[in-house]
Every structure is written in structure tokens, then in C-alpha cells.
């Protein structure tokens, strides 16, 4: 991988609790704003956003919290934020690291809810296709277990897995192994498992539809899933009620006005591809639930590099110009580039989504 050049994080979306999102003013940021950090020049290497607070981790191991939880703590190697639990991986004297689970409101005050020593990380922080390295939470560095916001907080994986990446949705889990195969388990009522049914799976099950296609990344949203292949193809499946799969959704067509993030419509259960009759009787295919992975074409035939999912939105970084295809507060059911980064000629390298916002990492172009 290329050497890491210092870059800038931007954020946009919901910041109603005052979490770090640009200026932090107002309740929502509609256009990307640079993340504000208390100390200038710090290099944020990971952002993990929960609904009401955001955790930013710097390369120096300092964790900054903003929003409904605030404060800072040092000696952190990794962090993972959820409403019920903030999970930290902290350095300790000697080998290994300490995994701590904190109630978000009381970080740094008192004791964590639980803590345990974990094995040291597998070799290769930046190895491509290697084992889980640094900053892989909720997957533990040993890749043999993962953390969950609900008890039991630490859940082992079956010994056969060589897990590279693991993501949690509202009720499902996605796992990417060293060979690029994708597994899923948990609730499946919205097709988010990708096995073609609405049934739950108690144990990890291989996504047969993607077998033989090595994947580079997986991302889990509230009730949808996304993965990016090593050749830059993007696959989406799960619930599409707000258009988060970038497939046509009935809710947006019928309302005629933007649903935004404030949909109060009842979800359509059990329907897959439905032909909906328009006034003139011509059928339009709307997709409420996509239970199998579907290949998604990005605009201009772009290839995908990275993907991240919020509760009901999806953000994808493409290879060529760093465009983002995503939904802002005006819900869209087709990919739409975030023009901000193009206008400023900022190549986008990484993206991470909180439930209702998006954080983007850009690197300045080298001046020739």
C-alpha cells in the first residue's frame, strides 16, 4: 500500500447531539465540512460514529469523543462506538492489549463495564489480504472473536474462520474471511443476509451467490449489506425502503416528495420485486427487499474501492476520482456523486458511516 500521507476528514449528516461534524453548529450538516479537532494538526486515523456521539482516534493513540459522550483518553489502539457501549482497545504494559467496554456517558470516569486482556495483534497492520490487524473492531485483533453491543459482549468465532473483517448491522452480522468469502448470520427479515430468504440464520452461513468472487470489503447497515469485490464491483442486498440499495423504491416514487431520513411509513414486508401499476397501468419495478446480492452499476461505469453503510444509507468511494455515491437528507434511490469533493479536487480515500451521517477521508493532491 502507498505510504500514508496526511489527510483531512470531512463529515456531513446528523449532528443533533453536537458531535464532531464540521462546525458542529446546527443539527444537520448538508454539505461536507472539515472535522474540527481540538488540537490542530492531529491526524485522525479512524472515525467510529454512533447515533448520538462520534469517536475519533488519532495516530498517536488519543481518542476524542464528541456529542452525547465527550472527553478524551490516550493509549488507544482502536475504538468502536455504539449507543449502548463504547469499546476500546488499549495498550498495556507488556504483550497484548486490553479490551474495555464502557458506558458511553461515563468514559474515563470510574471503571469500564468490563475488560479483558486480548492476544497481541496478528502481524501486518497494512497487509493486504492478511489477518485482522489494527483497527478492526468489532473484530478482535486475534480475529477469533468479536464484540457485540448486547450481552454476551465478547462472542467467539468458530475456529475454522480466518476472519479479515466483521461488521454489525441492527440485527445481522457480516464476515469477510481471508479468502475473500462473505458469511452472514442473524436476523434476516429484510433480506439482509443475502441467502435469498427472509429466514434468520443462527450460525454463519456462506453467501453462495458470491462464492468464487473474492471480496475486498464488506459493510453492514441497519438492515442492508454491501460488499466490494477485488475487481471493483459493488453488490448490495437487504432492505431498500429508503433507496439505500440504490434501487428504485416505491416510497420515494409515491410520495413525490423527498422522504429524507424522516420516513414514518410502515415497511412493506415479504415483498420482493413488485410490479406496481402506475396510473396509466404501465408497471414499474420497485424493490422493497433484495434477498440476494445484486450487482450495482455505478455512474460512469466507475469501480468501487470502499463502502460503508449507515442505518438507512450507503456511501461508496470509487477508484478513479474519489466520487461518493450516497444519499443525503433528500433520499435518493440512485447513486449520486458528492460534488463537493470533485469541485475541490479532493481525492477520497476512505469513508465511514455513522447511523445517520458520513465521514470521508481525503488526501490532498500532490502539487507537481
Amino acid at each position: 500500500m502507498a505510504e500514508e500521507r496526511p489527510g483531512t476528514w470531512y463529515g456531513f449528516g446528523f449532528c443533533g447531539f453536537g458531535q464532531a461534524l464540521g462546525s458542529g453548529r446546527g443539527r444537520q450538516v448538508h454539505s461536507p465540512e472539515p472535522l474540527w479537532t481540538p488540537v490542530a494538526g492531529v491526524d485522525i486515523c479512524r472515525v467510529s460514529a454512533s447515533w448520538s456521539y462520534t469517536a475519533c482516534l488519532t495516530r498517536g493513540g488519543r481518542l476524542e469523543l464528541s456529542g452525547s459522550a465527550s472527553g478524551a483518553v490516550g493509549g488507544c489502539r482502536d475504538a468502536w462506538a455504539s449507543e449502548a457501549l463504547l469499546v476500546l482497545l488499549r495498550s498495556r504494559p507488556g504483550p497484548g492489549a486490553e479490551l474495555q467496554g464502557w458506558a458511553p456517558g461515563s468514559v474515563l470516569r470510574g471503571e469500564p463495564l468490563w475488560s479483558q486482556t486480548v492476544e497481541s495483534e496478528a502481524a501486518g497492520e497494512h497487509g493486504s489480504g492478511g489477518e485482522a490487524g489494527a483497527r478492526a473492531l468489532p473484530l478482535l485483533p486475534s480475529a477469533s472473536a468479536y464484540v457485540s453491543p448486547r450481552p454476551p459482549f465478547c462472542r467467539p468465532l468458530a475456529p475454522g474462520f480466518r476472519a479479515r473483517r466483521l461488521e454489525l448491522g441492527a440485527e445481522h452480522v457480516l464476515l469477510l474471511d481471508a479468502a475473500g468469502q462473505v458469511f452472514s448470520w442473524g436476523g434476516g427479515r429484510h433480506g439482509q443476509l443475502g441467502h435469498g430468504t427472509l429466514e434468520a440464520e443462527l450460525e454463519p452461513r456462506l453467501l453462495e451467490a458470491l462464492q468464487g468472487l473474492p471480496m475486498a470489503e464488506v459493510a453492514a447497515g441497519g438492515w442492508h449489506s454491501v460488499c466490494v469485490s477485488e475487481t471493483g464491483d459493488l453488490y448490495v442486498w437487504g432492505w431498500n425502503e429508503s433507496g439505500q440499495l440504490a434501487l428504485p423504491t416505491r416510497g420515494l416514487a409515491e410520495d413525490g416528495k423527498p422522504v429524507g431520513g424522516e420516513a414514518t411509513g410502515l415497511p412493506e414486508e415479504g415483498s420482493e420485486v413488485r410490479a406496481a401499476g402506475g396510473e396509466d397501468g404501465a408497471p414499474t419495478p420497485f424493490i422493497a427487499v433484495q434477498p440476494f446480492p445484486a450487482l450495482l452499476d455505478l455512474p460512469q461505469g466507475s469501480e468501487a474501492a470502499h463502502a460503508s453503510c449507515g442505518s438507512r444509507h450507503t456511501a461508496v468511494v470509487t477508484r478513479k476520482y474519489g466520487q461518493l455515491g450516497h444519499k443525503d437528507t433528500t433520499s435518493l434511490d440512485h447513486p449520486c456523486r458528492v460534488e463537493f469533493f470533485r469541485d475541490k479536487q479532493l481525492p477520497v480515500e476512505a469513508v465511514t458511516c455513522g447511523p445517520w451521517n458520513t465521514y470521508v477521508y481525503t488526501v490532498e493532491r500532490r502539487k507537481s
Binding site: G16, Y53, G187, L266, G270
Partner: protein, 409 residues
């Protein structure tokens, strides 16, 4: 299209009075709006609820409205996580709280009929998906909003000399009491079909689209606790005395309405509870002759029932109502002992449902079905059918039909 709606932009008469009437329903201080919530509701949400209440009592309507949207969206996500029966009740109460504030904030300032209709829709969402708070305050808010929407409409027609058209008058009654209310509707011939779905619409829209104007699809207002949502309709039904023979309290009886055009089908299935299915019979309030005679109608007996307590007395399903809707249902019943011959679905979602299309069975695929014994009847207005627990039943509407079912233990 909804009756009584004015053009958008015209302020409703006395719209300032609406805001006052709504405020009068709420507690006087923000402390009254406090909800006691368990630890499942995250601290951040509790903070948000308090903030929203403060904004409301501080008169900051726009900001309160914005917070209530956030509350609604977040709790909506919780309501959609996991199986419905596992959703913590407190999340549903949070959702109702959001609906309450949003509906009241929308109507604080004088607005037009569209705004009031939107607020009523929000109330209905809270009633459909939420759980009661503050003594089920949403019912009262909905009643005030509905009254406001309908005020100025022409009054209901008085008695006429000629016999009213039963079908139309019954519909008029429903539209008057519940027309602007939002209800869940099932679209599609049967819930086992792939194209089947559920959606929300007002009762007026349902009647217009799926009952009267030559509907293209089958729409069915099915298995909905309509009388909990719109208690005004409850005045016109009475709980069969037979339901008191169970162990549960009267509050534990689930009353569902089933309202739809000719041809709606409930595929063969079984319920975990005892079931009474009653065809509504409604009478014109001001007519005397027909109602007396019909009150002597007996309930349809379940032949061979081991209970054997059926008699005519004490059964008064036909309380005095407005106008008559004639609706008959063809019903077929199979004993639970025949379950194997009914080929229930494998999947978890549909394991209480048979795979067989009862009136057009595929006997190659389901050979045992042909030999399974059954009982059938046509349930007419004023009649009640008792369906013992776990008995398989299939229902098809022969006419435009309104039925009420009572589930009890």
C-alpha cells in the same frame, strides 16, 4: 378526494381554537410529560425526550417539531429491529411520544386542512405502531383532529322514506366515522402470494380504490384492531357473551375488523387462540321493524362441538347501528387432527398456513387433501361462528363484507 377536505391554503375556521383544544389535552407542565422508561432506552434518547418537552413548554414549536422527528426516526428503527413481539414496549412508547409532539406541534399555529390531515396521520401511526402513554392520549388527540377536519361538512342525512341502498349507506357510515383515518391495508389476492404486500392509506382511499371504483387489485382491511384505534366504532358492536367463558379478562380479548370487497380470501390457516367470527349486521337507527325481528337471529352453531353450550339467549350481536351492510362469507373448517393432510408451509413465517388452495387444490401436489373431512358454512349478517383453538379455517367473502373477530383464551 377525502370528504370534507378543503383546498390547501384555506385556513380552517377556528384553527387557533384547534391549537388550544390540543394543548388542553396535554399536561400543564413539562414534568407531566415525563415517561418512565427502562434501561433499554438509551440515555441519549432520554435526554432528547426531555429536551423536546422543554422546547414544547417553552413555546419553541419549530425546534420541538424537529426534535420530535428525530425521536420518531430513531424509535422507528428500534421498532423495526427483530421480531415485532420482541420489540421492547418502551420503544413503542417513545415512538408514541414522538407522534404526540409532532402532531400537536404541526397544529399549534393555524394551518390548512392538509396540515391537520397530516397530524391525524401521525396520530394514527402512533396508534398503529406505538404503545399507549398518558392514558392513551393519542386517541383523544385524534378525536379532536378528526372533529376539526370534519367540521363544516354537511350533516349526516336524516331518515328517508324509501329503503336506503344497504351497500352505500353502510359505506357512508364508515366514511363518516373513520374516513380520514389511516389504516393498514393488504394488497393482493392472498397473503401467501409473492405479490402480496401491506400498505397504509385512509379509509376513504381504501373504499374509493378497492371497493367502489372497479378495483384493479384486491385490497383488504384485514386483521386490524380498528376498534382500539377508533373507539367510536366500538359503540356499534358488543362483545359476545360467550367470550366471558374463557379464563382471560375482557381486556385480553383481541377484537379485529375485517372489511373488504367481494372476493377477499384468507388462505387456510390456524390461530393460537379461540376465535369468534361475527358478521356485522347493522340497522338503521330510526327504523324499527327490521331490527326487532333480526335480533332473534341465532348464532351459527359449530356442529359437533364438545362444548355444547349454545343457545339463543344472551346473544346480542346486533346492537343498534346505522344502516345495513349485507355481507356473507364462505367458511371452511378442518380439525387440527387433519393437519398433515393440509400440508403446512415449512418456513417459520408461514408454518400456521396451509400450502393448499382450498377451492382449487392441486391434488397432484397435495394428494391427501382430497380425503380430509371438513365442515363448511356461509356466515350471514348477524351470525357468529365459533372456531376452537387451532382449528384450520378458510374464509372467502361472497359480498362486500364487514366482519368482526374476537380472539380470547
Amino acid at each position: 378526494m377525502a370528504e370534507g377536505t378543503r383546498c390547501s391554503g384555506d385556513p380552517l375556521v377556528g384553527a387557533g381554537a384547534l391549537g388550544e383544544a390540543l394543548r388542553a389535552l396535554l399536561p400543564h407542565t413539562k414534568e407531566g410529560l415525563r415517561l418512565d422508561l427502562n434501561e433499554k432506552v438509551e440515555r441519549s434518547v432520554v435526554m432528547l425526550l426531555q429536551e423536546a418537552a422543554e422546547l414544547f413548554y417553552g413555546g419553541r414549536r419549530t425546534e420541538c417539531l424537529q426534535r420530535s422527528e428525530v425521536i420518531l426516526d430513531y424509535s422507528w428503527e428500534k421498532l423495526n429491529t427483530g421480531a415485532w413481539r420482541d420489540v421492547d414496549k418502551d420503544w413503542r412508547r417513545v415512538y408514541t411520544f414522538g407522534c404526540l409532539l409532532k402532531a400537536v406541534c404541526l397544529c399549534e399555529a393555524p394551518g390548512d386542512a392538509t396540515t391537520v390531515a397530516a397530524a391525524l396521520r401521525v396520530c394514527d401511526m402512533g396508534l398503529l405502531m406505538g404503545a399507549a402513554i398518558l392514558g392513551n392520549i393519542l386517541i383523544r388527540v385524534a378525536a379532536v383532529l378528526q372533529m376539526h377536519l370534519l367540521s363544516g361538512k354537511r350533516p349526516a342525512q336524516g331518515p328517508t322514506l324509501e329503503q336506503p341502498n344497504p351497500k352505500v349507506s353502510g359505506l357512508e357510515y364508515i366514511q363518516e366515522i373513520a374516513g380520514c383515518r389511516t389504516v393498514p391495508v393488504e394488497i393482493g389476492s392472498r397473503y401467501t402470494d409473492e405479490e402480496w404486500s401491506q400498505t397504509l392509506m385512509t379509509v376513504n382511499e381504501f373504499i374509493s380504490k378497492y371497493i367502489i371504483n372497479e378495483p384493479k387489485d384486491v385490497g383488504y382491511l384485514a386483521q386490524h384492531q380498528l376498534f382500539d384505534q377508533i373507539p367510536e366504532l366500538k359503540q356499534d358492536i358488543s362483545i359476545p357473551d360467550y367470550c366471558c367463558l374463557g379464563n382471560g379478562e375482557e381486556e385480553e380479548i383481541t377484537i379485529n375488523a375485517w372489511f373488504g370487497p367481494q372476493g377477499t380470501v384468507s388462505p387456510l390457516h390456524q390461530d393460537p387462540q379461540q376465535n369468534f367470527l361475527a358478521q356485522a349486521e347493522w340497522f338503521h337507527k330510526l327504523e324499527h321493524s327490521s331490527s326487532q325481528a333480526d335480533q332473534s337471529k341465532e348464532a351459527v352453531q359449530w356442529r359437533g362441538s364438545e362444548l355444547g353450550f349454545w343457545n339463543q339467549t344472551g346473544m346480542n350481536t346486533s346492537s343498534v347501528m346505522i344502516n345495513s351492510v349485507i355481507g356473507r362469507k364462505y367458511i371452511r373448517l378442518y380439525s387440527p387432527q387433519e393437519s398433515e393432510a393440509l400440508y403446512p408451509h415449512d418456513s417459520h413465517l408461514l408454518h400456521n398456513t396451509s400450502q393448499v388452495d382450498v377451492e382449487n387444490p392441486n391434488l397432484e401436489q397435495f394428494p391427501k387433501f382430497a380425503e380430509a373431512p371438513f365442515l363448511s358454512c356461509i356466515l350471514s349478517p348477524g351470525e357468529i361462528l365459533f372456531i376452537p383453538v387451532k382449528y384450520w379455517h378458510y374464509v372467502r367473502a361472497l359480498d362486500l363484507s364487514f366482519s368482526v373477530s374476537f380472539w380470547w383464551s
